[in-house]
């Protein structure tokens, strides 16, 4: 059996129905452990005080915001090449989730920026690139909602997602050339020495896993909703004709 079998809506509904309870359970477990550990059982930073704990939301949200877009890119490609409906509906389902993560990252970043940098917002490359990502999410969603016919919408948004990804990447480089950064670099890389100290690191990893699971759960749920909405629409259309 090939993996494409799961792109059959019926098949997908069955499998996802079985997977969902597990996904929900794991998500709740990871997030509870990670956040409680992070918020209540780690010391305060000597420099940042308790604001350092924003990291447990900010960093996972920021990571997932980018990964959600990447997932949308992949599923959009699958739709363009193989025309599996579940694939493109998963992209559609992921967009609002990704957008929410993006906004969470922006808001937590802003809350963090106020004590750390003395401003809610600075035109730092990473922040700017993130803002542009937000724009792409909005554009993508706006295009979906503007088109009536679902297949037309799927095709056009997939093309937009593809082209948009290229330009998002270009923006990232352009922005680097344009401004020096305030924001810290990657602190979770494996090959670097100066990772965040262990006390912060372990709960952070759990939180990141929790956010990944949260994303998967949300996307599964929303994809199921999209499939149902699509069926409902077909039923209504048929009733109209009858």
């Amino acid at each position: 059996m090939s993996i494409w079998e799961y792109a059959n809506p019926k098949r997908f509904m069955q499998t996802s129905a079985r997977a969902l309870p597990w996904a929900v359970g794991l998500t709740v477990a990871c997030l509870t452990v990670g956040l409680v550990w992070g918020f209540f059982f780690t010391p305060e930073d000597f420099k940042q005080g308790s604001t350092v704990k924003i990291i447990y939301i900010h960093v996972p949200a920021a990571m997932m915001a980018i990964n959600a877009w990447i997932m949308m890119l992949v599923t959009s490609l699958i739709w363009i090449v193989r025309r599996h409906h579940v694939s493109v509906l998963a992209a559609k389902a992921a967009a609002p989730v990704g957008l929410t993560f993006t906004i969470i990252a922006l808001v937590t970043g802003a809350l963090w920026g106020q004590p750390m940098w003395g401003t809610w917002w600075a035109w730092d490359p990473r922040l700017t690139a993130f803002l542009i990502l937000t724009l792409f999410y909005f554009g993508y969603l706006a295009l979906w909602s503007a088109i009536e016919d679902p297949d037309t919408a799927a095709d056009l948004t997939s093309i937009l997602c593809l082209v948009g990804s290229v330009f998002a990447l270009l923006s990232r480089y352009a922005v680097n050339l344009w401004s020096q950064g305030l924001h810290q670099g990657a602190s979770l890389s494996l090959d670097k020495e100066e990772n965040v100290s262990d006390v912060y690191w372990q709960p952070l990893v759990i939180c990141i896993v929790g956010f990944v699971l949260l994303f998967v759960t949300m996307v599964l749920l929303r994809t199921r909703t999209e499939i149902r909405a699509r069926r409902l629409k077909a039923l209504l259309a048929r009733e109209r004709v009858a």
């Binding site: 542009i132 295009l143 093309i159 948009g164 352009a174």
Partner: protein, 218 residues
């Protein structure tokens, strides 16, 4: 194809066509910003490269929805899609016509408007050069955006929403080149990148745009 180009140019020149209006918008923005921001010369000089580029970008943007919408509404686009020229060529010709009507005049008039905004003299050459290299990208990207929204009634502002983020790299790099030029630094790197974006966009986006058009005509 030549027929299509000439028709588009002729339509642009006729009453109610787009020629000159992009230009007018560019002009008005360069006048409004000093009115809004206040008359201090030094501040204006500092923001001039950015404002001029933003102005050029908006002027392009505002004329985008003419590219396909009119042809769609009166049915010509369906006839063009069934005509013996590939849709990719139609898209490329339309982008080129848009550039001739918008991007080129903008580039030529920009130094004049830079005077209003107090751009330092060292920046003039780079302003013209960066616009000349960057506006083709704006036209092609815009044509792609217009192809995406062509089926929708008055996609105009949705179009802006879709296209503006795509314009970001060109804008940043173009304005950066002018700024560096105006401050006496070397503007070669951003300028080369702007040219690269233009080339890439011209080479690849017509295919994406034609695909989008086909979907929209369905």
């Amino acid at each position: 194809m030549k027929a299509l180009l000439f028709r588009d140019l002729r339509l642009a020149m006729r009453a109610g066509g787009g020629f000159g209006l992009g230009l007018a918008f560019f002009f008005l923005l360069s006048v409004l910003v000093p009115l809004g921001v206040g008359p201090e010369g030094s501040t204006l000089g500092r923001i001039a490269p950015g404002i001029l580029w933003v102005g050029a970008l908006l002027a392009c943007l505002l004329s985008l929805d003419r590219i396909f919408a009119l042809d769609f509404e009166d049915g010509s686009l369906e006839f063009l899609a069934t005509a013996p020229i590939p849709l990719e060529a139609v898209v490329a010709v339309k982008a080129f016509a848009h550039w001739l009507v918008t991007g080129l005049p903008l580039t030529l008039i920009a130094p004049g408007l830079a005077v209003f905004l107090n751009l330092p003299p060292a920046g003039y050459l780079w302003l013209v050069l960066s616009l000349a290299l960057g506006t083709p990208a704006l036209s092609v990207i815009g044509t792609f955006g217009a192809a995406l929204v062509v089926g929708l009634r008055r996609g105009g502002l949705l179009l802006s929403l879709l296209v503006l983020p795509l314009y970001v790299p060109t804008l940043i790099l173009g304005a950066e080149a002018v700024r560096r030029g105006a401050e006496g630094m070397a503007p070669a790197t951003p300028l080369a990148l702007v040219a690269a974006i233009s080339l890439g966009a011209v080479a690849l986006l017509p295919f994406a745009a034609a695909a989008a058009l086909r979907v929209n005509l369905r």
